[in-house]
């Protein structure tokens, strides 16, 4: 299932959304998350949905692909939808089956809440689908930079994220290797009672931790030898460049905000 899941993955392509500055995209998504809560009726939700569809279209990703790739999330949305219908107790009764009563307001709320949830998931997925993890890191560092004045460790945070990204595949390989080595010694992580399975995790986790510490130590030395002394006085190789299209993207959000406010009932 995880192999088909697209949440958090990057799909290389060359769409308008791909070319946007990561800072623009990050701000875009944050602002979108904020203003979607302005919507409180069908028209407003319709406008937000249309805006989302337009964004998806500009990213070159198809809605079918998004729905297929986000299946597990879709299931959660469906469950929320059903729960909302059954538990809301407001407005006119539309169906009364005795053991369960469905109210008009319940259906309304259910539709709104799942739409909002769906739009949020689509938008955040668009961000990760069109931006490499390292660009997201660069964007975050740049956006958080002003916070350095209040001693927020923006550079350190970004460096940590980029090293984590760099080592994920290495650690995955290592997990596979240690797991196989212990399986060859008769460990069984996939059957038996839960208690035994948990116990079988220890021989996997300890070597992984020990190796990770060793790697961290080596890496720290390698970084020091190459002149790393913290963020002070460093230049950047990965430059971010703000274009007109980035400003345009953010302006479109202003438009959406105005629209949502006007449509509020």
């Amino acid at each position: 299932m995880m192999e088909k899941m697209i949440f958090g993955r990057y799909i290389p392509a060359d769409s308008i959304a791909h070319r946007l500055d990561p800072r623009a995209k990050l701000l875009f998504v944050f602002i979108f998350i904020g203003i979607i809560f302005l919507a409180n009726n069908g028209w407003a939700y319709g406008a937000a949905a249309a805006f989302t569809v337009l964004s998806i279209w500009l990213s070159g990703v198809t809605i079918r692909f998004l729905i297929k790739g986000l299946k597990p999330v879709m299931i959660i949305i469906a469950i929320t939808f059903v729960l909302q219908i059954f538990f809301a107790r407001e407005g006119d009764i539309i169906v009364d089956l005795g053991f369960v009563t469905i109210y008009e307001e319940g259906v309304r709320q259910a539709i709104f809440i799942s739409t909002r949830f769906l739009l949020l998931v689509f938008m955040t997925s668009l961000l990760t689908l069109t931006t490499t993890p390292i660009s997201i890191t660069d964007g975050l560092e740049s956006l958080l930079n002003p916070l350095k004045k209040i001693k927020f460790p923006a550079h350190e945070l970004a460096l940590m994220m980029s090293i984590a990204l760099r080592f994920i595949p290495t650690l995955m390989d290592e997990t596979d290797k240690v797991m196989k080595a212990q399986m060859a010694r008769g460990s069984d992580m996939s059957s038996g009672p839960l208690k035994d399975r948990l116990k079988a995790v220890v021989p996997l986790m300890i070597p992984l931790f020990v190796n990770a510490f060793k790697r961290a130590e080596d890496l720290a030395i390698a970084m020091e030898v190459r002149g790393y002394r913290g963020g002070e006085g460093r230049t950047k190789y990965r430059l971010l460049k703000w274009h007109g299209r980035d400003t345009l993207a953010l302006l479109s959000l202003v438009g959406l905000t105005v629209l949502l406010v006007l449509l509020r009932g």
Partner: protein, 279 residues
Amino acid sequence: MKKPIISLDSITFRYPNSVHDVLKQVSFSIHEGEWVAIVGHNGSGKSTLAKLINGLYFPENGEIHIAGIKLDNSTVWDTRKHIGMVFQNPDNQFVGTTVQDDVAFGLENHGVPYEDMVKRVIGALKQVKMDDFLNQEPHHLSGGQKQRVAIASVLALRPDIIILDEATSMLDPHGREEIISLVRQLKEVQGLTVLSITHDLEEAAKADRIIVMNDGEVFQTGTPDEIFKLGDELVKLGLDLPFPIKMANTFKEQGVPLQGQYLTEEELVIELWTSHFKK
């Protein structure tokens, strides 16, 4: 005589929490443009030497000079500018998420301006023939390729000295060959000083000078020729002789008379050919 670029004077060192001295009264110097191999078995103290030369640890007694600067707490960042290091594990020294980011890492640390940085990254990757892999991620590279990127990272910083700390010991024979010939070529073109720490005597045979370490002390220093004359003494230290020397020794043991030392297979073949057929 060229001037020494690295010099160690009666260095004694022990790790914190340890009761044994890893290095005892070690002194030697390395000259500009020289290729010196430090050999010794695992635990002979050879890798500790590299860490001291780079100021990752400071000696308990004795002095280290790098390019005329006395190495201590206050000068360590200056001396480091003269030295580039390539370590044993190809994975644990790859900092960037891609090949070009990794090479740029050191330049970013030194505050090199962007335009200059781009030129130096590409230039260094060209020198190690990895310029076709700019955006490749490390887990898609072989061990040998990762080590070449590590060398490019060093070259981009333009040091005078390159230290290979068992840089080939985790590679397959192919990768090992690749790295050694690359460093050799770089040394000749750029006049780099090379210090290679290894237990591979085949690798050491190509050096200008060999320093043999044993139990934290300098056991012997000399040209490969002089060192390999030690023969069985080296084997006793846990080292292995290069093949031509072992082969010649076997001939001698089996009663085939041979004169002299043979550092290459060709020399030995010619000797056998002339002494036994052409009289």
